[in-house]
Symmetry: D2
Subunit: 284 residues, 4 copies
Amino acid sequence: MCRWMAWHGQPVLLDELLFKTQHGLVDQSLHSRMGAETTNGDGFGIGWYGIGEGPGVYHSVLPAWGDANLRHLAAHIAAPLFLSHVRATSGTAIQETNCHPFAHGRWLFVHNGLIDEFPVLRRELMLGVEPKLFADIQGSTDFEVLFHLALTFGLEEDPVRALECAVGHVEDAGRRHGVEFPFQGSIGVSDGETLWAVRYSSEGRSRSLFISGDAQALRALHPGNPRIQRLRDDDRLILSEPLADLPGFWREIPEATAVTVRRGGVLEQQPFVPRLAAEPAFAS
Amino acid sequence: MCRWMAWHGQPVLLDELLFKTQHGLVDQSLHSRMGAETTNGDGFGIGWYGIGEGPGVYHSVLPAWGDANLRHLAAHIAAPLFLSHVRATSGTAIQETNCHPFAHGRWLFVHNGLIDEFPVLRRELMLGVEPKLFADIQGSTDFEVLFHLALTFGLEEDPVRALECAVGHVEDAGRRHGVEFPFQGSIGVSDGETLWAVRYSSEGRSRSLFISGDAQALRALHPGNPRIQRLRDDDRLILSEPLADLPGFWREIPEATAVTVRRGGVLEQQPFVPRLAAEPAFAS
Amino acid sequence: MCRWMAWHGQPVLLDELLFKTQHGLVDQSLHSRMGAETTNGDGFGIGWYGIGEGPGVYHSVLPAWGDANLRHLAAHIAAPLFLSHVRATSGTAIQETNCHPFAHGRWLFVHNGLIDEFPVLRRELMLGVEPKLFADIQGSTDFEVLFHLALTFGLEEDPVRALECAVGHVEDAGRRHGVEFPFQGSIGVSDGETLWAVRYSSEGRSRSLFISGDAQALRALHPGNPRIQRLRDDDRLILSEPLADLPGFWREIPEATAVTVRRGGVLEQQPFVPRLAAEPAFAS
Amino acid sequence: MCRWMAWHGQPVLLDELLFKTQHGLVDQSLHSRMGAETTNGDGFGIGWYGIGEGPGVYHSVLPAWGDANLRHLAAHIAAPLFLSHVRATSGTAIQETNCHPFAHGRWLFVHNGLIDEFPVLRRELMLGVEPKLFADIQGSTDFEVLFHLALTFGLEEDPVRALECAVGHVEDAGRRHGVEFPFQGSIGVSDGETLWAVRYSSEGRSRSLFISGDAQALRALHPGNPRIQRLRDDDRLILSEPLADLPGFWREIPEATAVTVRRGGVLEQQPFVPRLAAEPAFAS
């Protein structure tokens, strides 16, 4: 049900983390170890903040492991902040508009998980999206709708609170339709300056999510490893499954938690508590 | 802004009409003579009633002139009734779920034209779709929504009336949003038994649409033309632009007109009068 | 390294064997049990003898499990003889011209395996192809070259002998270039009347290949299973991995063996002995 | 029969020249004015020298006008030297390996035109390619073979001479096979430092090719045009058709001419004289 990875730190070529590592995201597209499925071959996407205005994105319906363009692009695009995603569809069409990251202005959004019984809930959830954002929904996935709900609830002002309202809205709608555990997933969001990540599920059994730890300690432990020596203290990785060639570097993000990574690698962590927005959603 | 063609008659290999004719639909994808654009290269689709349950469909995002699979499939699929479509997008994504024909149960639907200011109207029009059909909308085009509005208004019981209600609903919504001419287009619909076609635009200047005429007279005129001699009296073609190798065979379908082709080539024609359904649409 | 399946018997809708069975070929694209890789997601193809002249083919670069068109086509195309193939590339490009079945006139060809060190041998092997066939090679795979070598050595007159000469040519070229085990694989070939299958590898450890057995006995064993009761005595399946819902129906084709299935389910089996053609290959 | 464009000068975002200009290359994909065809919709490619080692490339089988990724990439990739190409196939497959620019090490290669009767000549021309380069030919086009012939004849040491030998080799082979005018086209080549362009045809009626002129004079003529004021003296554009929004800036490259653009905008021009290499080609 998808895997994703986000980098916030020194500028790197994307292929450093997508291809030139052990069990990087492209390997996870073919051999996921912790995901709901082994294979995440239903398209992929990358989004990065580099040259040009706002984020660049590249989406493809091919499996990440087999897309010749991805190898070329990843070797020739560098960024201090980027998100990437490999997809395993739970039924919606395999098309570029269903590939993450979704973009809106300066914002990028990736997700791993699902809204349970989405076909039942889709209409009500789409009605909750601010009308002037409605026409921006180009695909058919649950998480493009969630992204636009979060935008509706103020993602650009207070991302964690907006995500809490969006997930709260989904849980509320789900429960009214008899869905026991409406939300499952991990989310990554960025505006190009800051990176936010959320791990949450209605059931309390969320998809795996990890964050990189203390680069200084890791460098001290592996003085002879040039790859590890290149890591700086303010480099941060958040990902569905740890890279295998940086052992001892990962800690699991707890259940029901939001993490914020600011420039300089500054880390904040807070409980993630879905809630109903004070203002009613648009279609109520 | 798209071109389409429908066949109702003796079983034929699809390539007889797509490739082995002068100015067939595939040629129109590259060199349209009467369309709003010369090039209709933003994907295409075919839908047919042959072997198997319900209609078969094949969609591709490639231009029809360049898709190797289309040549093979058209040479190996035969049907007594089929619709085909080449697309020129007015802005929505080039993806298979935006390619016509759209299918629902036994029904196929193609369209050439547009709903003006669709981004402004999209939310209201989607709310007019019966909730249990809402999740079936997989793409982002105006005409997939129109098709589901027609289904909402009873397409499966009374197709012409349902289309009148759907177009009436679009015009009503459009005018409330200040859109002068909300609807423009020609529509083809079939359930596998009967073929319906509509030519209508709010402005009264509709896209071109033609129907084939009297095969008996044509055969008498061209006794030495084997292609024409193969035409039977009950063969009927409806298409955006006439085939060039069957001269004298075409008549233009008038403005604001619905045509019905039944088995045996029986033809009915009636005025097409958009109207508001007695029952309010779902989101009113 | 690919999986394939061939059917020779009563006309069936393709999806009966691709989708509506346990561990059919589409399932093998995602969860192969006996292949060199679990995932065969680098494109696929079907080729069938039905309506129209010669075989129809459909190729796609998407994984078979995710191609919406395949579901539609398989449910609406029927044939008494068809081949299908799911691909796991060993490095050559993921493109339709590299997808099996390859077609030439009435002939279809599928393969699972590889020519070892093909980049080293490619030039010499292509020079062995009859010059007038050279320009027909549209892709970059080892097995499109093998197919054209077999055509060069008389596939259309004596298929098994031509394949023996083609494989013998590959082994000879390979050994001259220091390749220990040049050929590995299973091959399926048909002209629309007869189906030939070969299992062979230079090393004597060939990819798995199975053929269906005695339908009469199977029906007697499972009187209450309607799926099995539909099988006729002259239905024959050859495939890389057995279907799970027809237990007791399969026998492994032995190493270095060619099997011929004629109309009526008549089965012949003979040793497969690679040899050098009496006539030198073209580039010698 | 294709259109292309090359930029050598100050670093620019690719979309400045692909989209944000009048009659840029993407517009030429849909509305070519000087090409053999109006539509160049059979795929496209870009190649650039920016971040990372060697050139980056991106190829797509979609028309350039409709590829969503191209818009994003062009707005987020900058380079002081890049080539781009839109394709109209003369019959070879529409696949990424047939899209220009072709890449080899630091080298990029684009072409507009054709080798006449290529199916007849293909085998002999491929045999002329240095054997160790043979396996690098991944597609089926005439110009990937020409590129590898040029590499065989020393493109990396003396590009113009190597192209003269490659074209001479094609003309020689063609004439031996009774082809009156074997070569037609314009070629762009770069190693990331220097840009070479050739306009030549056996018939002496070559495809159009233009080079930008004196930026200083143009700026003086249009003091109020900010787009023109941004042009520097060392900026050079070579392209199949002039951009419409820089009038008076273009001069046609003469027949049978090679142009060299070095850093600083330094321009050299010389006759292009196809010749037979002193060394026989490999397959002679």
